[in-house]
Amino acid sequence: MEQVIFYILAFVAIVSSLFMITRNNPVHSALWMLLTFFAVAGIFVQLDAEFVAAIQVLVYAGAILVLYLFVVMLLNPKSHGFIKVPFRYAIGVVASVIIVFQVLMTLKSSEVIGKLGWVTPQLAQELGNVKMFGKELFTTYLVPFEIASILLLVAMIGAIVLAKKD
């Protein structure tokens, strides 16, 4: 059952991301991107990361996608599809296919080893994902968390400065 769900989600994610980069209309691209984000959120749920799945839907599908849709509809540019030169187009596709193929071959012949952390499955069952997540975020990663908030503030001010009429 778990496998079936994984393969369905993976199929949806890959197909919708392919549709996303091949649509000529940017609005259609944005809507296919929404479907990709939801499929990735489902993958997160499968990986026992429920809180991250919720954040994925809220931040990516809710905020970032709406920002993209706003800009697309604000500018309403004429459609620029793909590279006009077929040679460069072919090089782009071939290069990325080679990269993916190499990564997949490496995955096939390698084994992942590493030091196991403190989140045992039994502890995860007991505490729940959100509690452990908050504990880790606000103890070990407190300073990076604060820096992330400063980053968002700077980005907000930068966006206002760039986009305001002068």
Partner: protein, 99 residues
């Protein structure tokens, strides 16, 4: 499900993102492909977080997301400014830095 399944899915989505950046000329769609690549990285982090019994992967997903949000805000503001000045968002027609 093994870790390799998730890593393979992430690699494929990352490859689709690379293809999008390389073959598209629309700046907005190129930015969307960038988000796709960040999403692939997030899948990797979540998978390692589960299979190595560690929480740090999920925390780093949140940091990646905040960087993605900041990048989207600043990048789209730049695109709007560019469109106001040059009336185009085609990457081939933007050549400020060409000598």
């Amino acid at each position: 499900m093994t870790l390799q399944h998730y890593l393979a899915l992430s690699a494929i989505i990352f490859g689709v993102g690379i293809t999008g950046v390389l073959v598209r000329r629309n700046l907005i769609v190129m930015f969307m492909s960038l988000e796709l690549m960040l999403n692939a990285v997030n899948i990797n982090l979540a998978a390692f977080s589960k299979y190595l019994h560690a929480m740090s992967g999920q925390v780093f997903i949140v940091f990646v997301m905040s960087v993605a949000a900041a990048e989207a805000a600043v990048g789209l503001a730049l695109i709007i400014t560019l469109f106001k000045n040059k009336e185009t968002i085609n990457a081939d027609e933007v050549n400020f830095f060409k000598g």
